[in-house]
Subunit: 361 residues, 4 copies
């Protein structure tokens, strides 16, 4: 195995905590074809001692490691990085143990998406987490794990807060417009449609097949917790406080987030300038693809891949920019971004293990 | 059979032109349980002489009439009303023949949604219909067939242009806000998600099962033809020109339109006032149900029924009204509205034949 | 309201126990358009005091009764019939209380599908119910509620065991062949495919949307409990013990059971004779429709209706009869059959409240 | 690149004819991660000069080759192998041109699945191909491309007839039972359920989303053309003529064939012996996985991968073997088998480019 500088090096040794969920499964799938990494430990509170391929039979022969309890003394100590594919609250409690051993940490929850306590507490309010943060001293050390905005900080960090799936979709769809001041910041509306897999593996009444196969709905109208990180990141980029309206919807498909973003263009802006700004902003970002208004934009085109497809449109009649932003919520919206972050943190090719087109139909 | 005044009368004799499409099928299903109407003729260019229950085997035993050619000399003359479940251009050509015989006409296309030629020509531009209108003299006689706005005109009309499915969803979702001047008219954005049945029965690559089951997309961004009638109706109601941004999306389900409507509240408006205005506006409208922000709003709740469910929300942080409007595109969005219009035109109970809850799950 | 003899009579007063499940919901939908019956009490252990239309919002305005606890003292006493839309074990415990008050009982579970204890105990073994039957004295009084086989007994019964959904599909598909001795009884194989709604409303991992939308599987291979009643009914009809192979499968749709039935034709039998036998057997059965080999047989053609569509085919090369039997598992396979039984028990038109074609697409 | 003997060799140069269909797309996806092969030409009658990534936007950046017309003079001459991902009749006409140039051929249709004219003519009858075979002299040179049965012949062949998707599922599910004489050959019944993608990319009324999302059906009962190759292969293996009953069904999912196979066990056979026979038969076959009766068998477990999962069950009550055989119709049922065949024909690792677990959920 070679890194960017051509040295032979050993494979990165990986642990996944919360390995039994969709986030863990997605990471395992990606690591199977990653040339420079190998999974050494799968950790979960549930299904301990079962093989991961009993939970996910498609993995049989590809990854048959057993799930270990979080406190299993046999868990390997010499890992290079652990992924917390766990809900809010787990990573902030357990990350210090790993960091102290020199193991890098990538957390899938909101635990490390905000690098100061005050900001975190605003987020904690939104999710009803009254007890605050368990490891507040770690927050300044953490980096928001969206490579397209924070590649450099990620490269030198050992603690990355992987972004929320809706946040990836909205932030990538809006950043160039904010950065180049193309739009009125107070006019931003994000209307997001997500597949069901975003809600995870645990069954509930809302996602029971008969209740869902022929139904769509809005939810958490103007109250979704991802708004907080979207506004935070856009605010930093734009140098001013930004408040958006964000409405998530669930539609009956499995993978994909399509966010339709509306914002008032500033005077003098047109489609041509918008396209140029977006292409310039993402010129070094392999996983962001910019499309014009007439190009194909079905969510299936990013299914199973780490790409974000962005389509740019201008409604001439009302002077609005309309951006359609597409990702696979389980790849670019979760495990794919996490692997991308890991690659950056270890000086590997950023796309290592991520160059799959997905499967169609 | 009784009308509203208690007289015994014969059943209304119905013809359906374009009976073989989803619109025709939907009307046939509704008329089966309509106490005051019976289908006498099914007319279509395709599948002539086949029984409708060969095309739609679920109708076997309920309606087995053959499809007649449009020029079939055996077509009954003494119909009371014909439904044109046909694309743009058919009704405007053939409606005069029926009207001249004293037969009322309800057209499902855009042919009679605009009651003056100039307005129609604006619409014709949008759909690429350069040849104009074949029967322009009929336009002033036509009424826009949305009962909640035009009940009285429909009652005295013999020519009704049934509204577009997206238009029903948007206009019902916005009318009270426009009527009571609750919102800034230039701030309106309608983000619509439709099931696949809205595209009709004819197969094409976009709606082929493997291409669609796991894909969603936006289309005709800022260019959908239904915008025209939405703006027209809202403009009349608001007494001023109104321009909206409207983005339709297709998601992988069969029936349902969910439109999320965003608009800036005018100063001093709040959720309570909005709810009151909506309830007052629709106080006589059986088929519009108003919900507050926390109430359930899955599209399956209107599937197979003629209801429009409207949920009202205010984003306090940005001062925006967010309305979620739900219909079944094939019922309230098409055949159900048509039957409702017919009921009004013939002095029947407006809900006659339409009081079905639908089927769940 | 009129019964078959033209007398005016009051509406039948109905109670539904276990009203909050899919079986209860299906019955409520059917009773809304039933001319001779009305629901007086909805009873459930869960969601007590909630309106049924809070659980099933599509029922709002159609049925808003509250769910009462099973022991609610306010439950009306003067019901005419109660439906136990409950799992095994509930009806056998509570039915005596109702029967003693002169209330007829229709039970959706296996509790009253076998009219002697020995036979029931064989079934109890299959479902792991070691404690036996709570009310064994009622068993001889009970009737197997498949109208096409037991119309007369049902008419004079006050205790009906509504058949299992797979059993309806298999028994209707096989009865004429057994009755006319067209096939070798030991050669019968039933390969059944069911939609997900058959598993009921309670969410679980197997029917979680992401796990199910793109997966099909066989289950309980040669061990499903419905085999027992199928063999029982066919055995009675054929006058000999009959053992079948039955394999259920779940496929990703909501409503429908398609059972493909294979059996060796006896010498001298051909398609023509088979068709004649089937048509003769079901000549008085409105809800069974016989089709030849080339006619359309999608499960959607019975969706939402009480029909069983049977298609007859002969594989000339191997001498096998191949019957395709289609029902909606929630209608003819459950609530529809129950209403049909009630109609028979009360001397009403058998099809009363059941003549709906369903909705397409 | 290395072959099995460790020599460096150039990448195999591939052409795909009929590249625009699902079969072509599937091959392109597989070749992207194939270490020893690269696509040099994509040929199709339709969409000539378009990039394949315009047809399949998920391929953008992975394969952007243009589609060339079949007679394009610029088509590279120095290919090593061409895949005919085309319907019956194309390969038999054009294959000689390629073979004469020393290019190996793998054909996805029935054109080269039978290595003598008489047998082919029986197949031609089934598909209504009255004109016979265009290149009958090639037939003895062709090999049936199911690696698990014909690995050696494939290795030395330059003309392979890739098997039909249903045939792969049935033959793999039955071969050990036939080979070890475990079952009565005249008792075999194959009940197959396929996803919609098996019907290809061309839209039609049967696979239009609204007509399909909630419907399943049997078709071509006892008349499907794949029966012919199944009986042919099993007959060779069993050393006797074998006639089976085969019923295909379409269910509403995209990828997957689940075939439930029924056959009478011969005296003295039991589950243990059956399992041993199956494991022994497939001991060298990486892509066939044998499961016992209780192990998980959802079709999603093979989705996107080249595996065939076989579950073995015995119905003790009737003495029947019940085999559940699962494949992805587009991978092991088509493009995956083709790549597997190519690997064998060129002396590569048989699994080269095929070791993907697929993606879940």
């Amino acid at each position: 195995m070679c890194n960017l500088w051509g040295f032979q090096m050993e494979k990165i040794k990986i642990g996944i905590i919360g390995a039994g969920g969709y986030g863990g499964c997605g990471a395992i799938e990606l690591f199977y074809s990653h040339p420079n990494a190998e999974i050494r430990a799968l950790i979960d509170k549930q299904d301990v001692d079962k093989s991961i391929s009993d939970l996910y039979p498609h993995l049989k022969g590809f990854c048959d490691l057993p799930l270990m309890a979080p406190d299993d003394p046999d868990c390997p100590e010499d890992l290079d990085v652990v992924f917390f594919a766990t809900p809010d609250g787990v990573g902030q409690k357990e990350a210090p143990l790993w960091l102290d051993k020199g193991v890098k940490v990538i957390d899938f929850s909101g635990d490390f998406r905000f690098n100061d306590l005050e900001t975190y507490m605003g987020y904690a309010d939104r999710i009803g987490r009254s007890q605050g943060h368990v490891s507040p001293k770690l927050l300044p050390r953490s980096v928001y794990g969206l490579a397209e905005l924070h590649r450099k900080e990620i490269a030198s960090s050992d603690l990355v807060g992987n972004p929320g799936c809706f946040a990836v979709s909205c932030i990538l769809g809006l950043s160039p417009a904010i950065d180049s001041m193309l739009i009125e910041p107070e006019s931003i509306i994000c209307d997001a449609k997500t597949g069901v897999s975003g809600a995870g593996k645990t069954p509930n009444a809302t996602f029971h097949y008969p209740a869902r196969y022929e139904s769509m709905n809005a939810y958490k109208i103007s109250g979704h917790q991802h708004v907080y990180e979207i506004e935070r990141e856009l605010g930093i980029l734009g140098g001013q406080e930004i408040k958006i309206t964000f409405t998530p919807h669930v539609v009956p498909l499995c993978r994909g987030i399509l966010t339709t973003i509306y914002a008032q263009l500033r005077g003098g802006q047109d489609l041509k300038g918008v396209e140029e700004a977006y292409r310039a902003f993402y010129k070094d970002d392999l996983f962001v693809r910019i499309f014009g208004p007439l190009e194909p934009q079905g969510s299936v085109n990013v299914r199973g891949s780490n790409f974000c497809n962005i389509s740019l449109n201008v409604d001439e009649r009302t002077g609005r920019l309309i951006v359609v932003s597409l990702i696979d919520n389980l790849v670019k919206g979760q495990a794919g971004s996490a692997v991308q972050n890991m690659n950056i943190m270890f000086g590997l090719e950023e796309a290592s293990g991520l160059l799959h087109p997905g499967v169609y139909p």
